[in-house]
Every structure is written in C-alpha cells, then in structure tokens.
C-alpha cells in the first residue's frame, strides 16, 4: 500500500515530459550478468582497470560483445572461453588454475601453515621452559635501569 502511494506521488511530482531513462543494456538480467562477469576481467588497454569500470572505447566494445554473446544464449564460461581464446589468460583477473599457477594459489596457505608451525613450536618450547628461566621481570628491570642511566 505504502509503496503504491509512493509511486503515485512520484508520478504526480514528475514533470509530464520526463521519460524513463533507457538502460544501456536493454535486458536487466543480461546486464547484471555482464557487470558481474566483467568485474573480474581486465580492460586490456587501460592501466590496471576492470572491464566493468573502464570508460575506454575498447572496454565499451568488449562489454557490447559480451552482451551480444549472452543474448545468443552463451553461458558465462563460454564467454570467458571466447575471450581467453582471443586475448589469452591476461584478460582474467582471477588467474586460472594451471601447473604454472599452482604456487600462486597454494602459496598463501603454505605461508599460513608455516606460520602455524612457528606458532606451535614456539609455544611448545615456551611451555617447557622452567620458571627459573623467566627473565620477564628481570628484563623489565634492566630496561628501567638503562632508561635511568640515560644522559
């Protein structure tokens, strides 16, 4: 009800000659798919910009091409296939999973595992330390002494 009222007020308030702007892509569903897809694609002539964000002419053309292909009923992966066939993997901001990108994809988790190992072994060692080894308060005292000695 409320929404209807709102729409009615809006209709009355808008000047009579005002027309509804036409979306650049006619089909909103395809437009949404195109935007989603091109957010992960590189504008080839720009300096590191997405196909979705770029104002360059080639980006405009490629977006049109993607729309066209989607209208012909091609799936997202088919469109991506078409683009990589023409422009290579460079167009993909998400590098494909290949032998030469294994390190890229697994690297971060190797780092995390390494970090976890450091964490684990440090703690194991610390727990085993005898209380006599506790230099904490002693070191603090040392620091205070040193600070007093300044000048």
């Amino acid at each position: 009800m409320k929404r209807w009222l709102l729409a009615l007020t809006m209709l009355l308030a808008a000047p009579l000659w005002a027309a509804e702007a036409v979306p650049v892509g006619e089909d909103p569903a395809i437009e949404q798919r195109m935007v989603n897809l091109s957010t992960d694609l590189r504008c080839l002539v720009c300096q590191n910009e997405t196909l979705a964000g770029s104002h360059a002419e080639l980006a405009e053309d490629l977006r049109r091409e993607i729309r066209q292909q989607m209208k012909q009923g091609k799936s997202d992966s088919e469109v991506i296939q078409y683009l990589t066939d023409r422009y290579g993997d460079f167009v993909l901001y998400k590098p494909p999973f290949r032998s030469y990108t294994l390190l890229l994809w697994f690297g971060p988790f190797i780092f995390l595992l390494g970090g976890a190992a450091v964490w684990y072994f440090t703690l194991k060692k610390r727990r085993a330390m005898k209380p006599a080894n506790q230099a904490g308060s002693e070191a603090l005292k040392q620091a205070v002494d040193l600070l007093e000695k300044r000048n």
Binding site: A13, N48, G53, D89, V91, P95, L104, A139
Partner: protein, 658 residues
Amino acid sequence: MIPEIGHFALILALLLALVQAIPPLIGAHRGNATLMAVARPAAQGQFLFVAIAYGCLAYSFLVNDFSVANVARNSFSQLPAVYRFAASWGSHEGSILLWALILALWTTAVTIWSRHLPEDMSARVIGVMGLVSFGFLLFILVASNPFARLFPAPMDGSDLNPLLQDPGMVFHPPMLYMGYVGFSVAFAFAIAALLSGKMDVAWARWSRPWTAVAWVFLSIGITGGSWWAYNELGWGGWWFWDPTENASFMPWLAGTALLHSLAATEKRGAFKNWTVLLAILAFSMSLVGTFLVRSGVLSSVHAFATDPTRGIFILGFLGVVIGGSLTLFAFRAAKMPTGGSFTWFSRESLLLANNVVLVAALGAVLLGTLYPLFMDALGMGKISVGPPYFNSVFVPLITPLLFLMGVGPLARWKQASLPGMAKQLRVALAVAATTGVLVSLVSGSFKPMVSFGVALAAWIVITIYLGFAERLKYIGGEKLPALLKIPRGFWGMQMAHLGLAWVLAGITLVSGLETERNVKMNIGDTTHLAGYDFTFQGISPFEGPNYRAARGNIEVASGGKQLFVLHPQKRIYNASGMPMTEAAIDYGFTRDVYVALGDELDNGAWTVRVFHKPFINWLWIGGFFLVLGGVLAASDRRYRIALRGAEQPAVVPQGAQA
C-alpha cells in the same frame, strides 16, 4: 643557476651522509666519544642540504623552468600553482628526492629526540640511517638526477598526469612516504641493537613510539589514497589491489605486526629476535614498494629490461640492505629464547598468532603482486592477478585474525584462563550474532557475507567495551576520573581496533549492498535507484584552468522532494588531450550518491552511471579512528617521560597493556 645549486647541494648531502655514517659507527664500535659526536651535526647538515636541493627543485617547478627536463615532462604553464608544487614529487626523480628528504627529516627528528639514549646507541642508529641516506642520494646522483637540463628548452611542459591533479595528490605521497621512510627508524634501531649485541628490552621501548608514528603516517597515506581513488577514478572503487596499492599495504601489514610484537617485547621481553626480524621486514617492504612503483617494472617488464640502470641499482640496494641485515641477524641474534614462559592461551600466544597471520597475509599479497612480473620476466606468458585472487586468499587469512582481535586484548599475559573469560566472550558472541541477524532484517535481504562481516565488527566493538569495563573495575572509584586514569597506550590500542571494526563494517556493507545503474539519458529523462530519482537536465560547458569540460546537471530527488543537484564532469586536458571522468558525489553518513558521466550520444543525450553506496564513508571514519589510536599509543606517558629524561617510567600492572 638554481637547478645547479640544487645539484651541488645534493653532492654535499651525499658526502655528509657518509660522514654521518662511518665515523659514528666506528666510534660506537671502539667507544670513541669524539667520533660518535659527529653523528648529530652531520645528520642535521645532511638534512639542510637535501632540503636546499628540494627547495631548488620546487622553485624550478613554481617558476616554470622548462629547461629542466623533469619540469618539462611533468608540469605545464597553465597548471595551478599548488599542482605545480605537487608535481615536484609527481615524477620519478622528484619522488625519490622526496624520499631522501623525508629520510633526512626523520634522521633529524632522531637527533633531537634521542638525547636520553646511551651515546653508542644513538650514534649507531643515526649512522645506520646515514648509510641508507647515502644509498638513496647516490641513486639520485647516478641514475635519477632531477636537475638534468634540456637543450633547447621546450616552450611549454607536457603537463602533470591529469589523474594526479587532485587535492589528494598534494597530501597523499608525502604522507605515504612519511610512513614508508619512518620504518627506517625502527630498522635502524634493530640494526643498532644487533651491532651492539645488546638485544635488551630497552631498544623495544625506544623504537616503539617511532614505529607507531610511522605507522600513523602510513595509515593516513593508505586511507587517503583510497579516498582519492574513490573520488578521482570515476568508477566508485576504493581499493583495487593494484600493485601500487599493494606496495603501500605490504609495509603496513609488516608495520602492524611489528607494533604488536614490540608490545610483547617491551612488556614481557618475549620475541626479541622475531621483533628485530619484523623491523627488518617492514623497512624491506618499504624499499620493495618503492622499487615496484618507481622502477617502471610494473608498467612493463620489458621496458625495465631495456633501460635497466635504475632497476639494477634499486635491486642491488635492496640486496645489500636486506641481505646485509639478515646476515647480521644470523650472526648476532640471541641464541636462547628470551622472556618468560607462557601457555597456549595467553596474551603472548595470541600476539604471536597475530604476527604469523599478518606475515602470512603479507606473503600472499607479495606473491600475488610479484607472480605476474616473474612469469613475464621468465617468458612464461602474461597473466593478471587482480581483486578476485586477492579477495579469495586474503579474506580467509585475515578473518580468524579479526576474531582473535576480540579475544587478545582481554587475555592476560603469561597465562589467561579460558573459563574466566568465557562469560565475557559469551556475551560478546551473543551481541555479535544478534547484530548479524538484525542487519539482514533491516536491509530486507539475507546476505551471509554481510551479516557475518557486520557480526564480526560488532564482536570487536563489544569486546572493546568489555575491555574498558574490566579496566574501570580494576581502577575502581568514579567512572569518569577512572577513564582518564587509563593510560593512553590502552586507549590507543582500543581506538585503533575500533577503527578497524568500523572499516570492516563499512567494507562489508558497501560491498554487499551497493547498487548501480548504467543508463542512456536524454534531457529530462529520469532514472531511479535505491529510492532516489535522478533527472538529467543537460550539459553546460565549463572552462577549467588547464582543461575544458562538459558539466552535467543532474537533479536528485527522493519521494518527490528535490534534494540536491550533482555536477559530474567529463574533462579534456589542454596539454595532453587526455579525457578524464570527474564524478560528482553527495556524501552522507549512511550512504553516498555517486554520479559519473559516460559518453555523449546524439541530441545532447549522455550515458550516465549512478551508484548508491551505503556506508562507504565508514571506511574513512574507521581510518580516522585507526590513526587516532596510533597517535594516542605513540603519545603514551611512558614515552614522554623517557623523552623528558626525568622520572622513572611508571610500573605497569601485569596484563594491563598492549
């Protein structure tokens, strides 16, 4: 004449850097007070001459001396004066000179505020910074002279890159460099500690405020850079995982880890080696970042290979700095673990977890940034590593850390008790979960990532509240005076965490809920987005100082009520002919309305992109609190006391501070 004076001043500065480095380092080694005393005046003199050189460069820009190649390439007679000044660091040569200037500035700051240090320590710190200065000044003189002349001089310059003609550009690089270069102080302290063999708690306390201040500047630089991208690039993005952004983000991650590790070293004497390593890492990342952005390797690996002087020099410098420090570390690092014992669940173990996660995240960013460069250099083909990659590896790495951020500050040093904290954490968990549910109810759609992100932010906020509540109970008495009794170190930590939670909430909300429309608009056409009605009232021509623009008039209304008019521009710059999109934004606490002009169509029609960006300003509000936290932490009473050289530092209750 002026450029030659600048050039000559640089040569003098180079020699002084050598004087600042060698005698004091030898003096510190031999215990010779006379040699050590050279450090301060030499460093201050070096600063003076670098400042003269920079002044000469800035002057050449301001008076449009196009006989200087650097000015001709990066300035233009019609460029407004403030941008002519900013152009002095817009170029490669100028920015490296700015680097050297800021390094000399930090060194001078150290000479002034290090009187309380033992003489050998301050001599070593200043000496190490002198070595770094020497490297940079040598680089400028050998491979990157900003004063090189052009003959014959061109009539006019080819203009500053229009992207850089923004108020943000005036502040952004100096802030960023203050941060980058500021880590050289922590680095110099670490190297000095290694050289002296005295890896005690004292150096951690001395270098901590310096590190915090550098981190503050870097945070301002990064936040400002993101703000600049959002305002200037015209597609509404605020972070793109661009290599240049990563170049500033990597030292920030390392610096953040360093700040946390320094806390454990200062308070508990723990992780001394690790802290030294992080100090080396943070500064190395600053150098790597400078190399990435300034060697030209990013724009093209091959262009870099055909004119390799600069790149080889920076790589060599990197090798000497990183390799040298690591070798020193290998010889001098403490062989025994230092500090007291602690258990699986303690402030120390959580801080260590923070550190390993931050370093792993840094590794991921570094890997993603360098991988395509290496692939290209090795002839294995060109690939792009962009936001989808970074988001899919960085987010899972950092999420557990954000969760731990709620636990860590509540945990005690040495040994925390999980049952003891269980009640607090249960409350926090309940509040967080409720907030997550509320978000999806209010926004009217269930988006798991949005609910989860906001719940995580709420989790952090509520644990901050609990931390203060516990502190107040500990101090006792009236609430308000008790709040003031809480040391600034604690306030700083909590404010910075609050800032991060705020940023997190902003990121999740804007990423999950933003909407946009891309429409063709004839004059008088209207489009609707997120309850706003945008009416296109045509274009009027607009004359800027050094550009011409088509200036759009777009009326924005809501519910039939006229709200405001936005004027996005499409500019053509006179000198370069480069087109630029200048977005128009209406800012708000809960949303931005963002409009950008696309292309001109027939009959005065244009394509127009309108965006509704909920809560985007929370990113920068959060950034403000992050910075505020750093400032508070750096200005804690115990550092000021150390500086004044008076009383003994206050003894801090155990488990009380970070």
